[in-house]
């Protein structure tokens, strides 16, 4: 018990030890910002994987490590869509996940925003056209913010999310 605390004290604070992203690289539309106004300064996110290669998930997970520590900005992950303000969708939408995505979207209470994370979610990336893919996320549900990259770096995701909260 004491050893791990001692170790933590020895390491010190690592939060913020990353190269900041360029704000211009992750444009957030003003309409999306208006839509998030009711959430004030916190944002509860539900992540939905609709067929990603799992690198996008890994970068979302990285946001929670002590280096990025997204919780310090009031960004946290909700365990259920019913508790979420925002849906983050990764991956092209596969035929098998299409229904699940629509269900989750319906179950998320309004007002809500949808963030398409990664090239796959935005335009299907390399999987475009495949018989097993039914198109980018915005073919099935309205998308408010697009974060491009394959995968986008955590710093970029964090930048876009902070911008959404309007005080980044």
């Amino acid at each position: 018990m004491f050893r791990i605390i001692k170790k933590s004290l020895k390491i010190g604070v690592v939060t913020g030890r990353y190269q900041k992203a360029d704000r211009a690289a992750v444009p957030v539309p003003t309409e999306a910002k208006d839509k998030t106004r009711p959430f004030k300064r916190s944002l509860a996110i539900r992540e939905v994987d609709t067929g990603s290669c799992n690198a996008c998930e890994m970068e979302m997970n990285a946001l929670l490590n002590p280096v990025y520590d997204a919780e310090r900005f009031g960004i946290h992950i909700a365990a259920s869509p019913r508790h979420a303000d925002a849906l983050v969708v990764t991956g092209p939408v596969t035929v098998n996940m299409e229904r699940a995505l629509k269900d989750v979207h319906r179950q998320t209470p309004d007002p809500k925003i949808v963030i398409a994370l990664g090239d796959c979610a935005i335009n299907c990336g390399l999987f475009k056209g495949s018989y097993a893919v039914t198109g980018p996320v915005d073919r099935h549900i309205p998308v408010d913010v697009r974060i491009a990259g394959c995968p986008p770096r955590p710093a970029e995701i964090l930048e876009a999310l902070s911008e959404l909260r309007g005080n980044g």
Binding site: C53, A55, S130, Y131, P151
Partner: protein, 530 residues
């Protein structure tokens, strides 16, 4: 390790009906066998004490329209010599049946169901013919890997429902979980049958994320498909890209320069490092040991940032190419990497000592999710999960690729098969990887980092390649088509083999321990679903 050589005569004398064919690569044999002899021969290879063949891959190939047949291929790895034995057989004309080997070889179960879904060939005598890849809403008669199925077809929908196995009795109830989970993880469905707390049965329902990867490969040129291989499973970017490239290089008779081989091994070990660190942290997190999780997450991030600094990609994307690597790491840079890794190793050793000394963590991990040696063998379990259950395989040692012929690997091996053993395998491999990278720095030769492809392969040529990725054995079978295209590419992530085994490891455990057991396996959904 003593190597007993496998002699082809052993099989040809035991089964006079089979024909010897040209081996497809070094350390391998290839036999053409009549279809109805397949069950007997596979049973013999699997059970004969001097062979003990482990089913390593089973795939099919559609030869139409050139020839009106489907080919079926069985790959076994022999226990002691690590020799590969390939059996091939064909269906003739309109015959859509082939004999199932699942009744005596559990490991074939998913492969045969996959072949049925993708090709419409029917494994006769298979005990479970429910759909696997095709969910029930896919129209009847949809078999995407048939050559007459267009890659960009639109699938129609039909009504249909998946039938789970039910356990009936007083107090037995079912808990469905997924496909969308509470944390940030991939999509998959788990169906538990429980009575009180203990799990009586777990059934997996995967393939939600099926993206048609193998069909997409068939639309590409051999030398251009590396980005697709990198995206089969993002956390194994290097592993998949490397296996794919090795297969293509074998087809094109390319000699990869030695320096490139060392750099490939370096990238593979860096990938192993960040994943293992992340996994150990995630296992601590699932036992509510948040501080240890934070430390591991910090070290994982440190390695990913290191990757980014030296290669421009946190996941090492775009560094492997057909013929070599795209980026050189100068020797001075290599020294910097080693310095940083030494410091991380020091750091990790301290955290590891704290984690392993923690009594409440040990209590959660020990005897949780035991996968015993027999079950592991029956399901041909590989990789970290296998090595925690006494399956002593590691391709880096057994069938060296890249620069591992000059870099002997000490393989971590445990026998208890519980969550703690899986954590220990990862811990040991972290130290071993860093040691290997130090050795690479001392041994790496100078010279070019890539060779240019000049020839093009004959249509119909095929080969196999295998790499020990961080999860385990990754396999690619690549068959060349016309004009430098791909006729067929079979991708096998270790997850596909290890997923069914988790159904056995959870029995008797309580549902709250499932996330921990699942994390200790940490299998890829994307790599499994393809």
């Amino acid at each position: 390790m003593t190597k007993t050589e496998f002699s082809d005569d052993l099989l040809t004398t035991a089964f006079p009906g089979i024909l010897k064919n040209h081996p497809i690569c070094t350390q391998s044999s290839h036999f053409v066998v009549p279809k109805d002899l397949v069950p007997a021969i596979t049973h013999y290879i699997h059970t004969q004490p001097s062979l003990r063949g482990r089913l390593t891959l089973l795939w099919a190939c559609d030869y139409r329209p050139v020839r009106e047949t489907y080919g079926l291929y069985y790959l076994f790895t022999l226990e002691r010599s690590h020799h590969w034995v390939v059996l091939s057989t064909e269906t003739a004309g309109t015959d859509r049946l082939f004999p199932s080997i699942t009744p005596h070889l559990h490991a074939a179960q998913w492969y045969e169901r996959e072949i049925r879904d993708m090709f419409g060939l029917i494994p006769q005598g298979h005990p479970d013919l429910r759909r696997l890849v095709r969910h029930e809403h896919w129209r009847k008669g949809t078999h995407p890997l048939r050559k007459d199925f267009s890659w960009d077809a639109t699938l129609g929908r039909q009504q249909g429902e998946h039938h789970f196995r039910h356990i009936e009795g007083e107090g037995v109830f079912e808990v469905p979980v997924g496909p969308i989970h509470a944390g940030i993880i991939e999509s998959g469905h788990f169906r538990f049958s429980v009575a009180g707390e203990p799990i009586m049965q777990l059934e997996l329902r995967h393939f939600w994320k099926h993206r048609g990867v193998e069909k997409l490969f068939e639309q590409q040129l051999l030398i251009e498909a590396v980005p697709l291989a990198e995206r089969v499973s993002g956390d194994t970017t290097v592993g998949h890209a490397l296996t794919y490239c090795q297969a293509v290089e074998a087809l094109l008779h390319l000699e990869v320069p030695r320096r490139a081989k060392y750099l490939r091994a370096l990238f593979l070990e860096l990938e192993r490092l960040y994943n293992h660190l992340g996994d150990i942290g995630a296992m601590c997190n699932d036992t509510a040991y948040a501080l240890a999780h934070a430390h591991c997450g910090r070290m994982k991030e440190q390695i990913m940032q290191l990757n980014d600094r030296f290669t421009g990609s946190r996941f090492l994307r775009g560094v492997i190419q057909v013929g070599g690597v795209t980026r050189d790491i100068e020797n001075t840079q290599l020294t910097k990497i080693v310095e940083e890794l030494n410091q991380i190793q020091q750091d990790f050793s301290e955290v590891e000592a704290i984690i392993l000394g923690n009594a409440s963590l040990t209590d959660r991990l020990e005897t949780t999710g035991i996968l015993n040696e027999q079950t592991a063998w029956d399901h041909a379990v590989i990789g970290i999960v296998g090595r925690a259950s006494g399956m002593n395989y590691d391709l880096r040692r057994d069938r060296p690729f890249a620069a591992y012929d000059e870099l002997p690997v000490n393989v971590a091996l445990y026998r208890y098969g519980d969550a703690r053993a899986r954590l220990r395998v990862r811990g040991d491999e972290i130290h071993e990887s860093i040691r290997l990278i130090r050795e690479m720095r001392d041994k790496i030769p100078g010279g070019p980092i890539a060779d240019q492809p000049s020839s093009s392969p004959n249509p119909g040529d095929w080969t196999l390649a295998a790499v020990e990725g961080w999860r385990g054995e990754i396999l690619y079978m690549v068959m060349a088509g016309e004009d430098g295209r791909i006729h067929r590419c079979k991708v096998r992530d270790p997850s596909f083999v290890n997923w069914p085994a988790i159904q056995w490891a959870v029995l008797g455990n309580i549902i709250p321990d499932f996330p921990l057991i699942n994390k200790s396996f940490n299998l890829s959904y994307a790599g499994n679903d393809l």
